[in-house]
């Protein structure tokens, strides 16, 4: 393991002028975090609204995947840590001004909650499911009596998780492309959309799919709106932000961002979902797959571009 002694704020290896520390791990973590936030948010929402029987995929099936996906995400984040054994230090303090601290504590709350939530529903999805120990049965039974409060806290924590995946980046004020408050809502909207898409992959109920499609159309529209505003914000800002936006407007990320994120990840699934809802084309899993892929590309490209983006002119 190497340690860097930094004596100057400029020309630090791997950090200035361009960051080259984060590979695939961080975008995967941000992606899975957003996806799980979307899955848990809609599951809890429709549970509270008493739609568990009408929308079984949303309320009961995909939440079973949430702890697994979240666990995978945390594992990739762990891989990214240079000092893996120091992970406990996130939990020895609370710092309101640090998004990493927010994130660690949110994860510490939502991960056990997602496990409980999955435990409550697993028996309904798999009728033959039996817990190996008696105390587990009793615990799940207790949890079931508190299902509504758990659902409410899941809604709160999933929104925080979804926003945090974006705020984590915007807090890097030395990376102009990340340093915009829109990343929080944008990543939340994208997380909700990928969560819906995962449900669309698994759902077989026609009514459920129809409703999911409708909500997804709105979510994607919000995302497109936020992306437009992000660029308008950059272009109306200081020179440094105009340059940062240039990375996507003629610069090295132009084609990959507009083709893979905006066109294939947002506009094409939006078009296909609208056509499906109107019965013009057969319903397929293609829009869902495109949304899931596009959500990953969004985070991957933003993370990559942010590392190139710099204050140095």
């Amino acid at each position: 393991m190497q340690e860097y002694t930094i004596t100057s704020g400029r020309n630090m290896a791997h950090i200035d002028p361009t960051l080259s520390i984060w590979g695939w791990e961080v975008p995967v973590y941000l992606y899975l975090g957003g996806l799980v936030a979307g899955v848990l948010f809609f599951s809890a929402l429709y549970f509270i609204r008493g739609k568990a029987d009408e929308m079984p995929t949303v309320v009961r099936v995909t939440p079973l995947l949430a702890p697994i996906l979240l666990g995978l995400g945390l594992f990739t984040l762990f891989l990214d840590l240079e000092y893996k054994l120091h992970v406990f230090r996130f939990y020895t303090n609370i710092r309101l001004e640090s998004p990493m601290s927010w994130g660690s504590w949110t994860l510490a709350a939502i991960f056990p909650l997602s496990l409980l939530w999955a435990a409550i529903h697993v028996g309904k999805v798999f009728p033959k499911w039996r817990w190996p120990f008696g105390w587990m049965d009793r615990m799940v039974a207790i949890a079931e009596t508190y299902a509504r409060p758990i659902a409410w806290s899941l809604i709160v924590y999933s929104v925080i998780l979804g926003i945090y995946t974006g705020i984590l980046l915007s807090a890097f004020n030395a990376r102009p492309i990340w340093n915009t408050a829109i990343l929080g809502p944008l990543f939340l909207a994208s997380g909700l959309s990928t969560g819906l898409a995962l449900n669309m992959l698994f759902s077989k109920e026609k009514n459920e799919l129809h409703l999911l499609g409708k909500i997804d159309v709105m979510t994607i529209a919000v995302e497109v709106f936020l992306i437009i505003h992000m660029f308008m914000g950059f272009l109306a800002s200081a020179e440094i932000h105009i340059q940062a936006a240039g990375l996507f407007l003629g610069g090295p990320f132009t084609a990959s961002f507009w083709v893979f994120v905006v066109a294939l990840g947002l506009l094409v699934p939006l078009l296909l979902e609208l056509l499906e809802l109107r019965g013009r084309i057969a319903a397929t899993k293609i829009p869902a797959l495109l949304v899931l892929a596009g959500g990953f590309f969004l985070r991957y490209i933003i993370v990559e571009a942010g590392q190139v983006s710099t204050w140095g002119l």
Partner: protein, 172 residues
């Protein structure tokens, strides 16, 4: 264009539209359309991921991905991504999207798959040899009246007509 959803366009109309797309490409980009070049770059990318040394040591692969070059940052690659999407949209709108195998009535599916693989192999090899495929050579080179492209186009069709009889079982 055509009110019957399942029907194809009239061939002359389709050709005219295709010609306009090609013309737009000439006017905007100063180059033609293509397909096999993007396939070559994709496979080079795969080889480059597995073994970068092998790519650097092979003079043909190195043309596409030697050193730090990313073979996928290329005009044809993005064009082909669009081709896949355009084909999908057209198929979806016409209700033609379905897993199926095209063949004549006298050959099994597996037989057809084997021939498709073999024929694809010959085409892949031939397209690299001929410096382009039906799109890049015959269509684009044909419209710019390049001598070699016309020589290519006529030999390809002539060869196909000569051997067609031997493979009639696959199609008729």
């Amino acid at each position: 264009m055509n009110s019957d959803k399942s029907a194809y366009w009239n061939p002359y109309l389709a050709g005219f539209v295709l010609g306009l797309v090609l013309l737009a490409t000439f006017v905007i980009m100063g180059r033609g359309l293509g397909a096999s070049g993007a396939m070559m770059r994709t496979v080079t990318y795969a080889v480059d991921t597995i073994s970068p040394e092998h790519v650097d040591n092979n003079i043909y692969f190195a043309k596409y991905a030697g050193g730090d070059k990313n073979p996928l940052s290329n005009w044809l690659v993005f064009e082909v991504v669009g081709v896949l999407l355009g084909g999908l949209l057209s198929g979806l709108l016409a209700g033609r999207l379905r897993l199926q195998t095209d063949k004549g009535p006298r050959i099994s599916k597996r037989g057809r798959w084997g021939f498709a693989f073999l024929g694809g192999g010959l085409m892949g090899f031939g397209a690299r040899l001929a410096l382009g495929c039906t799109s890049g050579q015959a269509l684009s080179g044909g419209a710019t009246m390049a001598l070699g492209s016309w020589a290519f186009m006529f030999t390809m069709f002539a060869a196909a007509y000569v051997v067609a009889w031997f493979f009639r079982k696959q199609w008729l």
